[in-house]
């Protein structure tokens, strides 16, 4: 399993964070070297993260990116709306499954996914939709899951988590606000990954982070930036732990 998180930050910035562990089902396969890239750049204003059967996901992401590039060339644009990217992913993924696992009715499809007869994974895709003038508008997160036959599903809130999301969802519902700086939001997401990893071996404590906005192209955080985020995670953990200790209280003198 894995933990992938996408969040919106201040100034319509999108932050993508994921662990880097390889697992076979729930069994950790790479605890001594968490090196798997689970975040993928789609365009300069669009990215995705995966959870589940990574081999199948990557086998679909490659032709998906080729299709996106064709779409960009066809339109003469440098970006496409995230909803269009989601439709392309849906088409490419269903084609792949149909090619290798035969054409299935929806009940057959769901049954086969649940029975692990065919590979299962989901992605979170984030980017911007376009307005009437074709300009990039609000940031948007879309989830596509094999269990739903990759039908795009818009995330109605400002963050989403896939893989092993329970601890992350608790922390995000408690402490996330989208008006925070990118660094604050990225640190909270990284903290979610480290805390989940501390309780679940199938999620690694090493992570990668990418971000983009209307003004800033998709980029991965450098090693130096990741080190700063790790220090911030240690500070958050320390704040949580020490908040439980008794601290000095000063009694007010006299009467109010």
């Amino acid at each position: 399993m894995t933990l992938g998180i996408i969040l919106k930050a201040k100034d319509e910035t999108i932050v993508i964070v994921s662990d880097k562990r390889v697992t076979e089902g729930n069994i950790a396969m790479s605890s001594h070297g968490d090196v798997v890239e689970k975040i993928h750049k789609v365009t300069n204003k669009c990215g995705l993260t995966i959870a589940g059967d990574a081999g199948t996901a990557v086998a679909i992401i490659d032709p998906f990116l080729r299709e996106v590039n064709l779409e960009l060339k066809k339109g003469g644009n440098s970006d496409i709306p995230v909803s269009v990217a989601a439709d392309i992913f849906h088409r490419v993924a269903v084609d792949y499954y149909t090619k290798y696992f035969k054409d299935m009715t929806m009940p057959e499809w769901v049954e086969n996914i649940k029975a692990n007869n065919i590979p299962s994974f989901r992605i979170l895709l984030a980017g911007f939709d376009s307005d009437e003038q074709g300009l990039l508008s609000k940031p948007k997160i879309i989830e596509l899951s094999s269990i739903r036959r990759f039908a795009p599903s818009a995330v109605p809130i400002d963050f989403a988590a896939i893989g092993v999301p329970n601890i992350a969802r608790y922390l995000l519902y408690r402490f996330y606000t989208e008006d925070k700086d990118e660094t604050v939001v990225a640190s909270l997401a990284a903290f979610c990954i480290q805390e989940t990893s501390s309780q679940d071996d199938s999620v690694g404590d090493q992570f990668q982070i990418a971000s983009f906005s209307k003004d800033q192209s998709f980029r991965f955080y450098s090693d130096e930036e990741l080190e700063r985020i790790k220090i911030r995670c240690a500070e958050i953990k320390t704040e949580f732990q020490t908040s439980l200790f008794t601290s000095p209280k000063v009694k007010e003198e006299g009467t109010i």
């Binding site: 911030r232 320390t238 200790f245 601290s247």
Partner: protein
């Protein structure tokens, strides 16, 4: 004592005193402290300390109180130290 933050600054989390010089074994004393806040900081963060040898007991007490107030009541000082404000070089 202070820790290095992600923003590059150093933040003070404890001010203390000892009745005799702990120069040689200060680190082992700190690592074995019963103060849970200190333990947590030392375990989670990159920590540093600065010290001065002050022979006079009353002066040590006053300096501790002055530094405690100067640093806004560091969070790992679980008791407010007693003493009077004195002139201390905090740099």
């Amino acid at each position: 004592m202070s820790y290095k933050s992600a923003d590059g600054s150093y933040y003070v989390f404890y001010v203390g005193k000892a009745d005799k010089s702990l120069k040689e074994d200060l680190v082992s004393v700190l690592l074995n402290t019963s103060n849970p806040c200190l333990k947590t900081h030392l375990s989670n963060l990159e920590c540093y300390f600065r010290y001065a040898v002050v022979a006079d007991k009353e002066e040590r007490k006053n300096i501790e109180k002055t530094l405690y107030d100067h640093f806004g009541g560091p969070k790992c000082n679980l008791e407010i130290p007693l003493g009077e404000k004195v002139s201390v070089n905090t740099n």
